[in-house]
C-alpha cells in the first residue's frame, strides 16, 4: 500500500503529523503535509487508516499499488 498526500487539498491542520509523526511532517513554509514514508510497513497501516479518517480535508489517501 502506498500513501498519497495531496498538498493542494491539504489545509495544514496537522492531524497526520500528530497521529503518525514518523510518517508525516508539515512544511515549514506553508504548513502543508510532507510525506516522510511513502510505503509504510504493514503493521503501521492501521495508524495510516486513522490518519486518513481524521484528515479534515481528505488530503491523504491509501493507494493499492
Amino acid at each position: 500500500m502506498r500513501i498519497v498526500a495531496d498538498k493542494d487539498v491539504c489545509v495544514g491542520a496537522g492531524m497526520c503529523a500528530l497521529t503518525a509523526h514518523d510518517l508525516f511532517e508539515q512544511s515549514e513554509e506553508d504548513g502543508t503535509v510532507v510525506l516522510v514514508v511513502e510505503r509504510p510497513a504493514d503493521d503501521r497501516l492501521h495508524l495510516v487508516r486513522r490518519v486518513v479518517d481524521s484528515c479534515p480535508s481528505g488530503a491523504i489517501t491509501l493507494a493499492d499499488d
Binding site: 495544514g12 491542520a13 508539515q26
Partner: protein, 397 residues
C-alpha cells in the same frame, strides 16, 4: 408532508451535557428542519456523518453574508451580516480563505508548537505558584484557567511582559459576561489600539514570536493583521480557558475518572481528547450555507439554506462513539469534531492540546487534595454565549 421546523434546543440539563432534545432529534434523523430568527427555514445537523459532510463539502459556504441567525443572542452580528472584512478568514471560502490559512498554519505547525512546550510548562508552574500563594479556597478560573492560556497567547504574540497586565485586563473584561456593555466596548476599543501598537512595533523590530512571523511575511496589511489578531485572540484564549475550568470541574465531579488519571498520568492524551469530546464547549455551530442543492444523509438541503451543525450532538452520536453519554478517559474519543472539520478546522487545535496536556497533570500534581469548595449546582456556567464554560470554579485543597 414536510416536517415542521423546530427552534434550536439550547437548555443544558447540567454543566457537562448538551440539551436533552438533541439526542431525540438525532435518533429520528441526522438532519432536522430548523427555524431561524428572521423566518428562514434551514437545517440542524445532529448526526456525526451529516456534520462531517456539511463541514467538509465545498458546496457549503462559510461566508457571513449568506448566514441566518438561529437564536436571538447578543453575538448575532458576528454570525450573520455583511461580507467578511479583510483578513476575516473564518467567514471566507477557498481559495480566498486558503491564502490566509497557509500563512497562518506555517506559524502553527506541530513542530513549531512542540518548541513552545517548555515555555508553556514554565507558565503553568508560575500560575500554580500564584494560586498556591493565594491560598485555599480560590477561584480556579481566575487563578489558573484564565491566566495559563492568556500568558501562552502573550508568548505567541510576543507581548512584552511589562504590558502583560494591561493586555490581560483587556482580554478579561472582553470575556467577562458580568461586565457592563459599555466596559466591554471600551475594552474592545482599547484592545484594537493595543493590537495596532503591537503591529507597529513588530514592523520596526520583528522578534522570534509567531505574530512577528506573520507581520514579517510582508503579505498582510495592517487591517488584515488586526482582524487576524483579533480572531486568534478570540478563538484561542477563552476556549482553552473554558476547557481548563470546565474540564477540572468535570474531573472533580467524576471521582472514578479523576482517580484513574491520578493513578496513571500517561492517560492524559486520551483524557484530553475525551474531555474535548464529552464537554464539546461550542454550544452550536459552525454554520454553513448551501451554494447549490445538496443531499446530506437523506435530507435535501436547498441552495441558500443554512445548516447549523451541532458539534455536541455529533460528538455523542452512538453510531460513531461507544457509550457516548459517559465520560470515559480510557475510551476512544478519536475523531471527535470539537475542533470542527474541513478547511476551517481549528488552527490552534494542537496548541490547545499541548496546553491541556501540560496544565491538567500539573494542577493535579500540585494539589493532591483538590476539591470543589461549593455545591456543584452553585458553580455558575456560561449558557448564553458562543463558548460553554464555568464563570467561576471555587476550589479548595
Amino acid at each position: 408532508m414536510e416536517q415542521c421546523p423546530i427552534a434550536l434546543p439550547f437548555d443544558r440539563p447540567g454543566p457537562f451535557d448538551p440539551p436533552r432534545a438533541l439526542a431525540g432529534l438525532r435518533e429520528q434523523a441526522p438532519m432536522t428542519p430548523l427555524s431561524f430568527v428572521d423566518g428562514h427555514v434551514g437545517w440542524l445537523a445532529t448526526g456525526y456523518e451529516a456534520a462531517r459532510t456539511v463541514l467538509a463539502d465545498p458546496r457549503f459556504s462559510a461566508r457571513r453574508e449568506l448566514m441566518h441567525v438561529p437564536l436571538d443572542l447578543g453575538f448575532a452580528h458576528e454570525i450573520a451580516g455583511g461580507p467578511p472584512e479583510a483578513g476575516e478568514f473564518l467567514r471566507m471560502d477557498p481559495p480566498e480563505h486558503t491564502r490566509y490559512r497557509r500563512l497562518l498554519i506555517a506559524q502553527f505547525t506541530a513542530r513549531r508548537l512542540k518548541q513552545l512546550e517548555p515555555r508553556i510548562a514554565e507558565v503553568t508552574q508560575t500560575c500554580l505558584d500564584r494560586m498556591e500563594a493565594a491560598g485555599s479556597p480560590v477561584d480556579l478560573v481566575r487563578e489558573f484557567a484564565l491566566p495559563v492560556p492568556s500568558r501562552v497567547i502573550c508568548e505567541l504574540f510576543g507581548v512584552p511582559y511589562a504590558r502583560l497586565e494591561e493586555f490581560q485586563n483587556h482580554l478579561g473584561t472582553m470575556v467577562d459576561t458580568d461586565a457592563p456593555g459599555e466596559e466591554a466596548m471600551e475594552a474592545y476599543t482599547a484592545f484594537l489600539e493595543f493590537l495596532a501598537g503591537l503591529i507597529a512595533d513588530k514592523r520596526k523590530a520583528p522578534g522570534e514570536d509567531f505574530f512577528s512571523g506573520l507581520v514579517d511575511s510582508g503579505e498582510l496589511s495592517d487591517e488584515e493583521l488586526t482582524n487576524i489578531g483579533f480572531i486568534l485572540f478570540g478563538a484561542g484564549f477563552e476556549t482553552t480557558a473554558n476547557m481548563l475550568g470546565l474540564g477540572t470541574f468535570a474531573l472533580l465531579s467524576h471521582p472514578d475518572q479523576l482517580a484513574l488519571l491520578r493513578g496513571d498520568p500517561s492517560l492524559i492524551d486520551g483524557a484530553v481528547e475525551e474531555l474535548l469530546r464529552h464537554l464539546t464547549i461550542i454550544h452550536f455551530g459552525p454554520l454553513r450555507a448551501a451554494l447549490e442543492d445538496v443531499e446530506v444523509e437523506g435530507a435535501l438541503v436547498r441552495k441558500g439554506q443554512v445548516v447549523v451543525v451541532s458539534l455536541p450532538a455529533a460528538n455523542r452520536d452512538p453510531k460513531r462513539f461507544t457509550d457516548p453519554e459517559r465520560l470515559d478517559i480510557t475510551g476512544s474519543a478519536q475523531g471527535h469534531l470539537t475542533f470542527g472539520y474541513g478547511p476551517h478546522q481549528c488552527l490552534g487545535q494542537q496548541l490547545a492540546r499541548i496546553e491541556m496536556r501540560i496544565a491538567f497533570p500539573a494542577l493535579l500534581e500540585r494539589f493532591p487534595t483538590l476539591r470543589l469548595a461549593c455545591a456543584p449546582e452553585d458553580v455558575p456556567t456560561k449558557d448564553m454565549m458562543i463558548v460553554h464554560g464555568v464563570k467561576k470554579l471555587p476550589v479548595a485543597w
